[in-house]
Amino acid sequence: MTPQEWGLYEYIFNGVAALLTLCIFSFLYKDNPFYKFAERLVAGVATGYFTMLLFWTNFMDKVYDPLKAGQWWYIFPAVLGVMMWTRFSKKWAWVSRYSIAFYIGIGSGVSITVYLYTYLFKQLQATIGFPITMDIAGLNQFLVIIAVLSALVYFFFSTPHKGALGFVSKIGIYVIMICFGAGFGLTVMGRVALLVNRVIFLKGYLIQLFGG
């Protein structure tokens, strides 16, 4: 890494970024005023940022422009949205339930079919269409099926897990734990990468300040 051409502006902004990075790292030792400061600062900045983004892109695109273009029915969602504001009043807060009901109705209606389709059907489809052959692939497929079945049995709620069912459900939880262990192991790399990135950033700033 070699120093680049930086003006005062870059030095200040990157300095802020470096300081904030250190503020957050200080949390590892213990909670302290620097962390508190960074935490509260970003709560404000992030909210301001997203509110403005919502306003300029989403509100304009989704509400203002359609209404202006004569799509009058956009008045309905706008009214539903404004109804949420009744929450500021104790007396009228219940009105917001109408909007919430719409929101939840749409969400749960979509979910029934979509989840049964992508989560249940697709998984079923991926499991059943393969022949058990007398080779490595066949053995693997057989193992997958056994593992799927036993893990499914673990999720039986309305029968006691005793006897044969208990045995199978035990295999099931073993399979699930292997899966979780594998998931954990896989993750380490990504997390380390993120840390490395921060270290490289700090190193870059130091080089910039004091020369390579």
């Binding site: 489809q125 896989l186 380490v188 790399m189 990504g190 990468a193």
Partner: protein, 280 residues
Amino acid sequence: MNIFQKMMQIDRRWVYLAIGLAVIIPSIKSFDVPVTVSPEVKRIYDFVDSLQAGDYVFICVDYDPSSMAELNPMAVAIVNQAFVKDLKAIFVTLSQFGPGLVEQITSQLAANHNKINGVDYAFLGYRPYPAITILAMGVDFSVPFPQDYYGTPLDSLPVMNGIKNFDDVKGVIEITSGNTADFWLIYGNGRYGFPLAIGITGVMSANYYQYLSSGQLFGIIPGVKGAAEYEELVGFPGEGKAQMAYQVIAHSVIIIFIIISNVAYFATRKRKAGLEGGNQ
């Protein structure tokens, strides 16, 4: 308190310190780690490699700066390969922080390979609501993106000439740190059936291997290791390979702590039997 009891209760800050050193040391003195290429990465490389100059490849950059470390190296490697092969690339992002990343990647690599925006590649921009955007692009790119990111109408971009929707691209490579891969699977590959490959963070990859076996994906680049492998294939050693050095040390440190923890556990188990339950 004997040595084993101490080993059982190492203060978390020592663990933190060890991890900190594990990434700081290679940043001062770096070293090269050999990598071997896995088949799911090779398939993506082969796919891009098999395309003819002028073929279109669609690249969706759906991560945000917080996952840059892991995903940027693979995006760079793929774009490098595409530009070297004189493919036409179309970029889209479904992440609100994507535009900056796409600009950074394209402007830098385009300069390296003498590619011109609008002629050799196009960046259509960012749209929220991935499902809707993907469905609309399946009909016509210009539905969700009447103009490209820089405000030029799509039909006046030479690179977009004669291409309309996913039917006209050879394949889609989605690089993501979030759930947009699911949208590409369900609404993209599921609905329009184009070949789809994804580059994802290491964490997510376990979740997507099943789509590899179900044929919904033709390849996966998992995390930094995948990126390092891709760089090896493309022949541009970059961030990915550099990252591998850190990974080796950090992984070793974690494994050493797990070993310490278990040695201590078994050495002190007799005394503590029955006091500790399962971890669930």
